[in-house]
Subunit: 151 residues, 2 copies
């Protein structure tokens, strides 16, 4: 079936850190576990898989492309949310004299209702957790993440 | 000139408050000033204007539609960011036994690069400020808002 239109979630944050450190926080398993979910598994190499566990639920990604200190690209793999099937995540880094900007894109959504608005807000929360982790040494990964509702 | 495609920012939060209270926080000037910007002026009546001041910068909206305890719709007026020209903001409320959900749409963007990703993140921050204000009595309106970069 041909896809007529897809939707993207986009965010941007500026982190007082080098692009090298930000890149590490997007590729090193131990550092990833400090801002998205505490239970992160796998190896960040192109063609390999990353698993982000939320108790007994796993969101799995294939690592599609890596450009050191510049770009990280994942694609959703078999496990995970139905709404996230075929979606992709890209982090693009660029630095100025004050900070490293992280430009975030979660693309390939078939719909921008349903889970989309919730995930849009939640991605902001996790990107702010990434910022906090790199600037203060302490992020807010799941299960310590900021709640955006009372579900 | 015909617009080919426009983009939307979407978010959703769940607030432990009645839809009546959430609606007030979106329509009462004093309550609005507790979560977006401390300097909010105008009157929330259909056809009237709201002004959100950030020191000497003003973002102005016309109130397009109001449905008590359900829906608020604004349209950008003459002043403000160029990227926000012709854009519109809609808040839709729905409650379940635990909370009032606020579904937020900022539509009519001509582009989803430029300011869009920054504003997407920043809207999440202000919606979380709205949630905090209604749940704890204290929001984080500008100039006390959470910074998402170091500009």
């Amino acid at each position: 079936m041909k896809k007529i239109k897809t939707y993207e979630i986009r965010h941007e944050i500026g982190i007082k850190a080098t692009s090298k450190l930000v890149y590490q926080a997007l590729t090193d398993i131990k550092m990833l576990s400090n801002w998205w979910t505490s239970d992160t598994r796998g190896t960040s190499k192109v063609g390999n898989f990353l698993e982000f566990w939320f108790v007994d639920f796993c969101q799995k990604f294939e690592v599609i492309e890596l450009k050191q200190n510049q770009f990280v690209h994942w694609k959703c793999a078999d496990k995970g949310l139905e709404d996230w099937e075929e979606t992709e995540i890209r982090f693009s880094l660029r630095s100025d004299e004050k900070q490293c900007f992280v430009n975030f894109i979660h693309s390939g959504w078939q719909d921008n209702t349903g889970l989309y608005p919730h995930c849009s807000t939640k991605w902001a929360v996790f990107l702010l957790s990434l910022k906090e982790f790199l600037e203060t040494g302490r992020g807010r990964p799941f299960p310590h993440d900021l709640a955006v509702n009372h579900n």
